[in-house]
């Protein structure tokens, strides 16, 4: 009943935009990654040299490692905090919507604003966190939060976790709304405690939400750029120099377009590989539980 071919013409404008802004650039990035292109002038083919450099120098494997570590910390914490608040709010319908919106508010804000505000919270000079610790008698815990290479990455991760707890919480609450009332009701009648219901009924039934939450936060966190860029500029001592910072730095700090492209390709492969593996593993897990 449809004139099928003509219908595809509808997709043409979108496909043109996608081709110009995704397909062609990805292709171009792949090409540039094998050159020493410096932004202007002729590009010389250098073969796999850029990639060899990435995998032979500690600086770049460190950046990959820091990106992965940061992602694991943030995603694990976001899953727990989101689930924690969702499980609580699921049991408290009276304040559920209000708290959901309140928790979501930080995710509505710009990375720029969040980064600047937290930069001052972490500041060793009159910063909010150190002042708070002092005022409750925990002054000995004061730190130079963003200046200590052992702490900085966790401080940045904490900010990101604070920002997106409301997001994962909202995902899990959406999952909760799909759990039939009767299942919970019958468990309650059989005397299952709140914790038992969470552990044996809700947690397994929330598996699809867990999949979505983990995949979305992972993809988002792997390309984290703004928070470390503003909070620490990758420092101190490269402790927060993620792959994304390395890319921007090579691109607009040093005009090494070819090398930045190789780093970008590494990032693309990591993101696609992680998303693919997670999707497989988590979907399998959904079937088992």
């Amino acid at each position: 009943m449809y004139r099928r071919r003509s219908l595809y013409l509808f997709a043409l404008p979108a496909l043109i935009v996608i081709a110009i802004f995704f397909i062609y650039p990805i292709w171009l990035t792949g090409q540039m990654s094998f050159t020493n292109f410096a932004g202007i002038g002729a590009a010389e083919n250098v073969g796999w040299k850029n990639y060899e450099r990435i995998f032979s120098r500690a600086r770049y494997s460190d950046a990959i490692w820091i990106t992965l570590l940061f992602t694991v910390i943030v995603v694990a914490a976001l899953t727990v905090t989101g689930l924690f608040f969702a499980a609580l709010l699921h049991r408290l319908p009276l304040i559920r919507n209000f708290c959901r919106a309140a928790l979501y508010t930080p995710a509505m804000m710009s990375f720029v604003v969040v980064a600047y505000v937290w930069q001052f919270i972490y500041s060793p000079l009159n910063g909010g966190l150190n002042a708070l610790l002092e005022s409750v008698g925990l002054g000995f815990l004061q730190q130079n939060w963003l200046g200590d290479p052992d702490i900085a990455l966790y401080a940045v991760a904490f900010t990101q976790i604070w920002m997106f707890t409301g997001f994962t919480c909202a995902i899990f609450l959406a999952g909760y709304s799909g759990i039939p009332e009767e299942i919970e009701e019958s468990a309650r009648l059989e005397g299952a405690s709140s914790w038992q219901r969470f552990r044996h009924i809700e947690l397994p039934l929330l598996a699809p939400s867990m999949t979505v939450s983990i995949i979305l936060t992972t993809i988002g966190t792997l390309k984290t750029f703004e928070l470390p860029w503003i909070l620490t500029k990758g420092g101190p001592d490269g402790a927060t120099r993620t792959l994304s910072i390395e890319i921007i730095d090579n691109l607009f700090g040093q005009y090494k377009f070819g090398f930045a492209s190789a780093l970008s390709m590494v990032m693309l492969v990591i993101v696609l590989a992680v998303a693919f593996v997670q999707n497989k593993v988590l979907r399998e897990r959904e079937k088992v539980t």
Partner: protein, 297 residues
């Protein structure tokens, strides 16, 4: 929590364990306490925002002497200084203009592309869906270098058209998925009736499908607005002319240039977030459910 809640045993049947009215009272007390504790936890999560607003009203001396205290009075001087030098009004106008243009492109291209994808299911449509999914998953760092080079060669750097196209491309895959899901749920009987009246595909799309799409368009518009307002990477790399800055890049440049001076930082942060927070207060249900739409499926 205090003792009275712990005294409540989690046995099979609470009402049997604690007879009569006292059980009811205890349960009420317990429920009240739980609500209070959870609200307190949520309030703690919001402390940084309270801090941001509070700090924006403090004078430099107050911040140095009493970094946590409430401002002694609502001191508007910080806002006056920030407004005078950050080019706020201009950047708000820029953000609004860019937002509207991006919405127009994304809505038209997205809804049109979604129509065949929702109605046809064969190799072609699956291939297009895959391409859109790739667009959704690609980090913008992978495409930023070539886009920068292409824009420079075409003279699109530092132009409204350039930033509008870049933003539109970024949100287009999401738009296609939003509309595809929605159109697929529209019964085909409506279209068949129109076809019997000799409408061509375009007329069917324009007169039957398009008028039904406004809920998706509304949600999508909110997301575009959020992105244009909040995104940092594209304007950082593609815009250098102060006159064309979006709000966030204006905030970034302004705070960066003042050397993280708290009397400038906090009012700029509040000014930068306020319009979106107001928007969120009005549309929070639509925004939250839109952002988690994929989670339910």
């Amino acid at each position: 929590m205090n003792n009275s809640t712990k005294a409540l045993p989690m046995t099979h049947d609470i009402s049997r364990a604690l007879p009569g009215g006292s059980s009811l009272n205890l349960r009420k007390l317990r429920s009240f306490l739980i609500h209070a504790v959870v609200l307190a936890l949520v309030a703690i999560m919001l402390l940084p925002l309270v801090y941001m607003v509070m700090m924006s009203f403090k004078t430099g001396t107050e911040i140095a002497q009493d970094p946590l205290g409430l401002p002694s009075s609502l001191y508007w001087g910080n806002y006056m200084n920030a407004l005078a030098s950050m080019g706020y009004a201009r950047s708000v106008l820029n953000s609004i203009g860019i937002t509207i243009s991006v919405i127009v492109i994304v809505v038209f291209a997205g809804a049109m592309a979604a129509y065949p994808l929702a109605r046809l299911n064969n190799g072609w449509s699956r291939a297009i869906v895959m391409i859109m999914a790739l667009g959704l998953a690609t980090p913008n760092f992978v495409t930023i270098t070539p886009i920068y080079v292409i824009f420079r060669d075409l003279g699109l750097l530092d132009t409204y058209i350039g930033i509008i196209l870049a933003f539109a491309a970024l949100k287009l895959p999401l738009a296609v998925f939003f509309y595809t899901g929605f159109i697929a749920a529209i019964p085909t009987e409506l279209e068949e009736a129109a076809r019997l009246d000799n409408c061509n595909s375009w007329q069917v799309f324009w007169h039957v499908i398009r008028p039904l799409l406004s809920p998706v368009t509304a949600t999508l518009s909110l997301f575009v607005m959020l992105m244009v307002w909040n995104d940092f990477t594209y304007p950082l790399l593609l815009l250098t002319d102060k006159e064309k800055f979006t709000v966030m890049i204006a905030v970034y440049r302004f705070v960066g240039n003042t050397g993280i001076d708290p009397t400038m930082l906090f009012p700029a942060a509040v000014l930068g977030s306020l319009p979106l927070l107001i928007l969120f207060a009005i549309f929070q249900r639509r925004i939250v459910s839109g952002a988690t739409a994929g989670a339910v499926k």
